[in-house]
Subunit: 380 residues, 2 copies
């Protein structure tokens, strides 16, 4: 059946949808009405003792399709196919992997593009603000439905790493390992500032129509494009951009006008923005940036991260990348220091990689080896 | 008369306008029609030998009003008042200081908001693209008119530093010292990328009207605001933003919505964007970012900066700031290395400062002392 796919691929996968019959109480004080849905994929098999389940949490623009292919003739695999599959770091011969799309998303889980049962219209901007804590609670309900009492590991990069951390804090007995890659214990002022630029780009787009653009059959394309462009710059290192584009020209010589693209990097950014604006929901983008901004588990403990981690039982594995300036190695070290101060099990690796924040998605030998070694040691 | 102003201020100043009766040939191949004007201010007195003149070149959103006050009751002084005045680093007891607004600007020199004599309408987007080389040529014509054959020094920060460097290259005999602060020999791909986001924000604003908004009586306010917000983030260091705002909330508690500002840093950025969009011209902003992008004096010498500097006669003083990530110390060191390789006189200082790129505007003791010492040694 899947002979067309690489041998280390999970092959053809079919997303599944789980519906929940109780409302979900959210951090913002609102409730998500009963009937909300979470779309997810699974790779590998749940073992008899249900002890080999791994949860994958996605980052800002991610989704449930982390590995494999949706169609026989598909060229593009899931977003973390480099790390999930037979004999890959998250080895599907060993683990039963669950990958979800978070609530508020735009890839199949209930979100702003879904129909609000109370109004029979798309939620749009009325979709409630969801936080990392809310997501973890919703993921715990999914685990209940799947009969997974305890995850072997909860794993994520960037915003996904924040969810993994929140799992260890919110449900200390429901995971044995927390793998947080290129993450931070909370956003810095600069991180929030970049998110705010992205939000203002969307909110100020005349086609945003206060978030109800879907009903009007339009898309705030300009705003989404700008949001993605500015985001994209922060995902790459200065070095990576320099190596990839430098000051290479798009045409043979300079045009000295605003209509033509002069430099390759401009062309690349515009393409990234254009492509993204055609596939991502603006309200979801707003929600995801807010979830990032609000994440600050230590806030409940007067900013003391060690106290925040006092009751966690999971062992931690943290990875950072040298050229990541969105969530720099120093941010991972804050987490490591707090875990050490709290007397917890923690392994930490700073990977020398030129790719910046995006490195967490890339096949980097030392990262692959260390990740493989850690996951192999997990007892199931 | 000026007793209300601080004793180390140049006091009340009146801008002057110089008109030029020959067209200016530009790097883009076009000509700026005869009759174009440059607004400028002067501080101090030109000495008998005309050997004490210092030219101040401004950065992206700067202008001619670098020091002193325009009105008796004014609270806000010129943008570089920390560094220009009696007994200040650029000591007006010693130097005759000339500060201009560049062509393409929106503060009095001929630019997109000026009337195009050929059409009797504002230039708008038809104003030709101007480069750092063009500016330096236009500044040389102003020097001619002022009877300044050779500047004691040409001084600038950021884009202003690039103009100072270009002076040394284009007119090796017309300056004795080049002071380039927080500059770079050319933009990196990341620098260009940030400029491109700013440009797209403006160009995609429906009120931009292809650059002819002035005729229609509108302003692309949203685009300018976004451009300034993203620019502003790059002017400050992550640390500076952290120290200034951290994660401080605007209100006592979180609101969990998109209408209220949650964090102080969001409020600050929006204010900066709003304020800027009310006082700066969108076409000028586009032109300034393009001048930055195009600056690459070594391009004519196969990228070899040392060869580019082979014929300069000026002594150089370069200053960078440790936390500047827009034009990092490494960028200044590229210039230093090339000057050393070319066997030129160069002094370089990396100043430990938390403020990021904006440090070049701030009163920082070591910076002030070093700058003062260098300027004092200049023989007039």
């Amino acid at each position: 059946m899947t002979t067309n796919f690489p041998v280390d691929s999970v092959g053809l996968v079919t997303p599944q949808i789980m519906s929940f019959d109780k409302p979900l109480r959210l951090a913002c004080g609102k409730e998500l009405a009963a009937g909300y849905e979470i779309i997810y994929e699974t790779y590998g098999k749940l073992n008899e003792h249900r002890s080999n389940a791994v949860l994958i949490c996605h980052a800002l623009s991610g989704h449930h399709h982390a590995a494999g292919y949706h169609k026989e003739d598909e060229k593009k695999s899931g977003w973390w196919d480099n790390y999930i599959g037979p004999n890959k770091p998250i080895d599907t011969n060993k683990f039963f992997v669950v990958s979800i799309n978070n609530l508020g998303g735009c890839n199949g889980s209930t979100g702003p593009t879904s129909i609000n049962p109370e109004t029979n219209k798309p939620y749009g901007s009325t979709f409630p603000i969801v936080t990392v804590e809310d997501w973890v609670n919703s993921q715990a309900r999914l685990a209940d439905k799947l009969g997974i009492v305890q995850w072997a590991a909860v794993v994520g990069g960037s915003l996904g790493g924040m969810q993994a951390m929140q799992w260890a804090i919110s449900y200390p007995d429901r995971l044995r390992h927390c793998v947080a890659i290129a993450a931070a214990p909370k956003l810095s002022a600069q991180n929030i500032a970049f998110n705010e630029v992205a939000r203002q780009a969307i909110l100020s787009d005349p086609d945003f129509l206060e978030g109800n653009f879907q009903e009007q059959g339009v898309i705030p394309k300009r705003g989404l494009m700008l949001a993605r462009m500015v985001g994209h710059i922060t995902y790459l290192s200065d070095d990576a951009m320099g190596q990839k584009f430098g000051r290479d020209l798009k045409h043979e010589k300079l045009n000295y006008d605003f209509h033509n693209v002069e430099f390759q990097v401009e062309s690349y950014l515009r393409y990234q923005g254009e492509e993204f604006s055609g596939r991502f929901d603006a309200n979801t983008y707003l929600l995801m940036t807010k979830a990032l901004d609000y994440f600050d588990p230590a806030a409940k403990h007067n900013g003391d991260l060690a106290t925040t981690f006092a009751h966690v039982n999971a062992s931690f594995f943290l990875i950072s990348f040298t050229t990541d300036w969105r969530f720099s190695p120093a941010r991972s070290k804050e987490i490591v220091d707090a875990l050490v101060a709290a007397g917890k099990n923690v392994s930490y690796l700073d990977i020398d990689a030129p790719q910046g924040h995006d490195a967490f998605l890339m096949p980097i030998p030392r990262y692959q080896e260390a990740f493989t070694t850690y996951m192999q040691r997990i007892v199931i």
